[in-house]
């Protein structure tokens, strides 16, 4: 019986190429069928349903087929995932709904400065490969906190790691479910709350029955959908415009045209030097300090996010883990080096066909997004020519043509509108929606599993009930998964603006809380328990203090640290003025005065001008320093721990941790 299962499993792994090849072919055929149906007159709405429900159904089928009752399969997919496929799964795990839909828009708005995200979200994999992943694979942990507990002897280090993990993953997963809701509600034309719960069902079907094993194989399927959906529209656009189907090469030409148009807009008064940020000019939004600090925090954060690190626990060997990081980065790179092309083509479209246009001849694609509140002209939603005209007539001295400062666009529009701008059929727009959904769902799956596994494996099994039998462990794991998922979906359904703006914090929190203790645990034998605990508490605590202080207690933070703030004399004077106004205001006006003061304080509450998204710039070095100093002041770790570190560094031999219930291939 077991023999048979083994053989069947072997068949599945050795046939992966055939299976996913067929799947990709089937997906293309499905797109073609929908395209034909569209030509036959099937309404757009049904095309949208077709995409969303069919892809969801496929993911769910993979999830159900991968169900398992085995601990090793549930937590680390049986450690049988080949490097190439684990790379694809990591790609899907990594690319969030926001990356898919919003990255190009960020580059559209920020130009060169936006590339800090492109760099930050790719270069971190170098750190993953050379410092962390192969060693964690050899260690044989089920979760990242597992490593902390074994290396730093005890449950306190484990508990700290779980806290950091939950803090950085929960806001992130809420944002993913929110993105699912937004995409599904836009394309299916259903209520946002309903859409959130539809997404929740999709997520649970993929992850609940098969844990990591199911999530792995659905993520591979989701990667294929998302990368096809991302590349196809912009490849078609590039072919239409320049005759070469490689947008990554042709957008150099678009950038040159944008440069010329920018000059033209400045000289004929369509833009002012204050509102125009030349696309290729560096440091127009971030100063160099913040640009490089952001790159650093995103990279180190990448190398510390538990839902990414745990993907490398699933490879068959240390060797495969290293190759797998390379494949991961390759698959992620495919999307990130395409995003700037989207941004350039959209910008060229906007600069050449929107700005400087007569209000009567606005291109119709703008109205589609104006209706959704995503494109504004003269401060009003661009829903129709009359609405724009009415709004612009309110603006004093408006020349009757659209100027750059009249135009504002939500970052989500760039990717979503490309098919329409290029005049492609609706089926391509549906494909893009399916891609965005795949990106959001796959990331949500990975994050949920990271949180639920930390709670079930680390808190329940390792800390509360070490004698729990396999069946109970898996039941608890699934219950916790559902509880966390429903909690995140409920939070997302309330559209919490605060939580959504906190997503970017995850990188700094993970970087400051996990990275120093993780890296030194592998690379410095002398690092000991006291050092790691002090380092984690200080690094993470400092980071939280800076994030929360500058965002929620800005007035207090500024007053405490005014001497470190880079506020200009004018900003300081304005702060004093607003503060007096608030203190003198009578009751009904007091609230408004406080809001004004707080808002202004947020712009000047900082240390040396570092923006709060880069808070790890302080927490990270502090964490390293604390571990170093405290470790040297306290006794070295025991011989056993030092031998364990040696064994971690050596690929040959058994994993360090062996789970009594797991049936995993021995090496």
């Amino acid at each position: 019986m077991a023999q048979q299962a083994q053989a069947a499993k072997g068949d599945f792994i050795s046939n992966l190429g055939k299976i996913y090849g067929l799947y990709t072919g089937g997906f293309f055929a499905f797109v073609v069928v929908l395209a034909i149906l569209e030509q036959l007159g099937v309404p757009n709405r049904w095309i949208g349903y077709g995409f969303v429900f069919l892809t969801l159904a496929v993911y769910a089928i993979i999830g159900v087929l991968s169900r398992t009752a085995e601990v090793g399969e549930y937590y680390v997919a049986g450690r049988r995932v080949p490097a190439f496929y684990n790379g694809m799964a990591t790609g899907a795990d990594w690319m969030s709904g926001a990356s898919f839909v919003g990255m190009a828009g960020t580059l559209f708005l920020l130009g060169y400065d936006g590339l800090s995200f492109v760099l930050g979200w790719t270069g971190g994999y170098v750190l993953v490969a050379i410092l962390i992943a192969p060693f964690l694979r050899k260690f044989g942990a089920f979760t990242v906190p597992d490593f902390f507990s074994e290396r730093y002897g005890g449950n306190f280090a484990r508990f700290l790691a779980v806290i950091v993990l939950v803090c950085c993953s929960f806001t992130y997963v809420t944002a993913q479910i929110y993105a699912t809701g937004i995409i599904a509600s836009r394309f299916l034309d259903i209520d946002f709350t309903v859409a959130v719960y539809v997404g929740l069902i999709g997520i649970l079907l993929c992850s609940m029955l098969g844990g990591m094993k199911a999530v792995t194989w659905t993520q591979v399927a989701q990667y294929i959908v998302l990368i096809v959906a991302y590349l196809l529209p912009v490849v078609i656009l590039s072919t239409q415009k320049y005759g070469i189907p490689v947008p990554q090469l042709t957008y150099g030409q678009a950038i040159r045209e944008i440069g010329a148009l920018e000059q033209g807009m400045l000289s004929n008064g369509l833009a002012t030097a204050q509102t125009l940020k030349p696309h290729i000019k560096p440091f127009t939004t971030y100063d160099p300090l913040n640009y490089f600090a952001l790159i650093l925090c995103l990279m180190v954060g990448t190398a510390s996010l538990p839902h990414i690190l745990m993907r490398y626990f699933t490879t068959p060997s240390v060797r495969e883990a290293r190759k797998s990081v390379a494949w991961s980065l390759f698959f992620i790179f495919l999307l990130y080096f395409t995003a700037p092309a989207y941004a350039a083509f959209s910008k060229l479209e906007v600069y050449s066909t929107v700005i400087g246009r007569d209000l009567d001849s606005v291109r119709p694609w703008l109205f589609t997004y104006g209706h959704l509140g995503l494109v504004k002209i003269c401060g009003a939603d661009a829903v129709s020519i009359d609405a724009i005209k009415a709004a612009c007539s309110q603006v004093a001295g408006h020349p009757g043509v659209i100027r750059l400062q009249d135009f504002s666009i939500n970052t989500d529009v760039i990717v979503l509108s490309t098919p329409e701008i290029a005049g492609m059929p609706y089926v391509i727009a549906g494909l893009v929606a399916a891609g965005g959904l795949a990106a959001a769902l796959s990331t949500a799956d990975g994050l949920l599993l990271a949180i639920a596994n930390a709670l079930s494996h680390d808190i329940y099994y390792k800390m509360l009930d070490r004698n729990a039998p396999t069946t109970r462990r898996l039941i608890v794991a699934r219950i916790l998964l559902v509880v966390v998922a429903v909690g995140a979906a409920y939070t997302a359904s309330t559209k919490p603006a605060d939580i959504l703006s906190m997503v970017a914090w995850a990188f700094s929190l993970a970087a400051a809380g996990i990275f120093p203790a993780l890296v030194l645990g592998i690379w410095w034998k002398r690092a000991n328990t006291a050092g790691a605990i002090v380092g984690m508490i200080l690094g993470f605590g400092f980071c939280v203090y800076y994030l929360v202080g500058t965002r929620y207690y800005a007035v207090h933070f500024y007053e405490t640290w005014a001497w470190l703030s880079t506020a200009s004399p004018a900003a300081v004077a304005k702060f004093a003025e607003l503060k007096t106004a608030w203190m003198n205001a009578a009751e009904p006006a007091k609230q408004a005065a406080w809001v004004a003061l707080d808002k202004h304080a947020m712009t000047i509450a900082n240390w040396w001008g570092v923006r709060n998204i880069s808070a790890a710039l302080f927490g990270l070095p502090l964490g390293f320093l604390a571990i170093w100093i405290v470790s040297l002041l306290t006794p070295a770790p025991s011989k056993e721990v030092q031998d364990m570190v040696d064994a971690t560094r050596r690929p040959r031999g058994d994993t360090i941790i062996r789970d009594k219930d797991a049936v995993l291939p021995a090496h």
């Binding site: 790719t122 170098v126 490969a129 050379i130 950038i255 560096p282 160099p288 080096f337 040959r652």
Partner: protein, 84 residues
Amino acid sequence: MQQGEDRYWRRTSTLMWTMFVLWVFFSFVVHMFVNQLNEFEFWGFPLGFYMAAQGSLIVFVVMLFVYAAAQDKIDREEGVAEDE
């Protein structure tokens, strides 16, 4: 054995530091000269912009495949590689 292991870790560390220096260079150093690089053109792009949008990314990807192969070679030569 002990000596062999020391040598294994020394070679592994050297490879790590080599990659780390390359990472620092292509993540930060090269972009500090973006304005100077933008004077040059590469495949129709200003070079400074190109490095941040594609150049560094391509280097990272290539680096990781090279790293995986190089580390594997060290493992085999020092006798600590896993069985196939």
